[in-house]
Assembly symmetry: C2
Homo-oligomer: 423 residues x 2
Amino acid sequence: MTVDTLRSVTTEDLHQQGARIAAAARVIARAPDAQRVDALLRAAANLRAVSGDVLVANQADLAEGAQSGLSQTAMDRLRLDEARIEAMAAGLETVAGLADPVGEVVSESVRPNGLRVRRVRTPLGVVGVIYENRPNVTSDVAGLCIRSANAAFLRGSSTALRSNVAVVETLRDGLRGAGLPADAVILVEETSHERAIEFMRMRGTIDVLVPRGGPSLIASMLEHATVPVVLDGDGNCHVYVDARADLDMAVSIIRNAKTQRPGVCNAMESLLVHQDVAGEVLARLEATMGEVRLLGDARAQELSEAVLPATDEDFRTEFLDLIASVAVVDSLDEAMDHIARYGSGHSEAIVTEDPLAAERFLREVDAAAVLHNASTRFVDGAELGLGAEVGISTQKLHARGPMGLEALTSVRWVIQGEGNIRT
Amino acid sequence: MTVDTLRSVTTEDLHQQGARIAAAARVIARAPDAQRVDALLRAAANLRAVSGDVLVANQADLAEGAQSGLSQTAMDRLRLDEARIEAMAAGLETVAGLADPVGEVVSESVRPNGLRVRRVRTPLGVVGVIYENRPNVTSDVAGLCIRSANAAFLRGSSTALRSNVAVVETLRDGLRGAGLPADAVILVEETSHERAIEFMRMRGTIDVLVPRGGPSLIASMLEHATVPVVLDGDGNCHVYVDARADLDMAVSIIRNAKTQRPGVCNAMESLLVHQDVAGEVLARLEATMGEVRLLGDARAQELSEAVLPATDEDFRTEFLDLIASVAVVDSLDEAMDHIARYGSGHSEAIVTEDPLAAERFLREVDAAAVLHNASTRFVDGAELGLGAEVGISTQKLHARGPMGLEALTSVRWVIQGEGNIRT
């Protein structure tokens, strides 16, 4: 196959697309495991085969992005190269190798009246995802949806449109090759704000919407969405260095959580440090992490000249940059209160050698992920063994943290009797 | 204790109540199992001790209901007597006896890098429930919330206000007696529509909202809610009698599903019958189920004089009465297509002796519960072993079908390392 990625954008009515994908969802829901695996392996092969076309499309997106003044971070997220395309193809193969979640019996019992009751995993149906620049999200999300017998209704950003069209074609071709409807993956090519709102209101067509984006997308979603939502929200992630922390370990974790990839949601945005070790920790950070701007409270400023004044708003901010807020606390309780007040419910870490402090932190901090003596950067679908992720949920309902195949299923009750009636 | 149930209604600001319940939710989330069990047993004892006061309150609600012309069904749902209060108290004791869901390790693994990764059940926080007449919902829902270390924010109907105030006091007193904050159960006493909308928009305070009500509540929720919702929607439940059904069993199941309690969501509303057995089934229903009005398609009308004409709308209707729609179908596929078109995703049953037909129906019909040779009336928390239920979810996200303790939890990631950083 070749991909004509520079063709004009389709302006097909969203509701026509909705009807097509809903029909395809009913077909893929019943497709055997082997057929879905075949579709993914074909898509991976297609992606490799047409990588040149995908790169041409991506170059066009990049050129337009440069012209329209896209930020350096956004340009970096948008950029594809042979290695990134290979990683996308390999990702599809990884997902193909994961166990089929559909049909899994979650629980099984026989009631006193003889009824046999099972709870069985089933696909959600049509999964809608609204996302930004990164074209690899297109293949990751569509791959997980196909693996779990769902249809993927994708609304990427306008800046990545040509790249996304090219990637989606490889997936649709993979489906076709496996004898499945290509319409199990559909990209919304008209990326206006109005169309996005229309998308959020496709109740009855879209079974779950995963908005992956910034505060304005989330606000719009809260105002307009009528479909059920699993929110991939901000990560205002904290690392708390306890009085009894191993300070070498603490500095290593802080460095990693803040600087290894500052533009992602599981990076550390805020450092909390116990007063007993605050001076030492700040001195070491000053010496070894000079590239990071630290914005701190009065006590942190007193302890280190490298710390600039922080506003209350700074403690709420997901910087996504080489910036961190810093607060000195008197106790574990104060640290946990700070997290309860400012945290976004994403990932929160404690560094300590005190098992009781660790236990309390892990039990009491209310976030999708809590970590002890590990970098927040591990809160990621691939790192935690999910293969890939549709997003990282910061809400409590349905799924929390990295969402893999299981998050793309629901659990039905299957009840078998022998003529049982209720008395 | 005694309950002053006839006092004037509190008009405390909803957001003050929200602040109180959020604080109480943080306390109960950390409360040990035994303390929550103690609160429930005390509440059950209280309910029995003050049953006279509760009945006085209920009488006042009933008198006002009669005056304002409440329907017979609504009056029946509202009415309490000693037996119903005893059932409510016993229900609290049953829930107290269920296993604590909090802290359950759902999965556990060690990653190749040595990280220990667990997924652990945790309370949701503040559970908001909007519901109608039945005062037993008040104790059922609050009991399940306390058992699962959540706080219950209850907004019952104005018609049941005095009864609900009386029941809630027994629960709050149980909490106090067990050393837990009474504010873990709060009833919204101002029951205006405006206040209900305000309630649906308490994002950041209410962690999950369960609306239990009719189409107008659901429409209002779709328009206004900003908190995550698990929908307890309508039940347009079908029974399909296959060509190879045992007809004695079929008639018994139809009778039970339609007439045992017609006003509930798991009652049969629509009968689908295969053409090969339609004449016989309709003749038997005519002979034995005369109290039920049958509204059928042309083929059903042809086969039985008892069948009156049905409109397309009748096939979409949850009658909650001794009425059923009837359609004759040519095949299992036609039956499943009909259910896909008209069903509400609640409970769908097949009656057949053909294992392949049963298997296809159980696998392919997309509903919270699918049943083979059993009455739809079994789709109920108590019948399926959950002890009680917060509602019956007809959505796919988070929970599907009867919602017990597990539906009141989320699952967090707990990650333990030894200084691990990501490379």
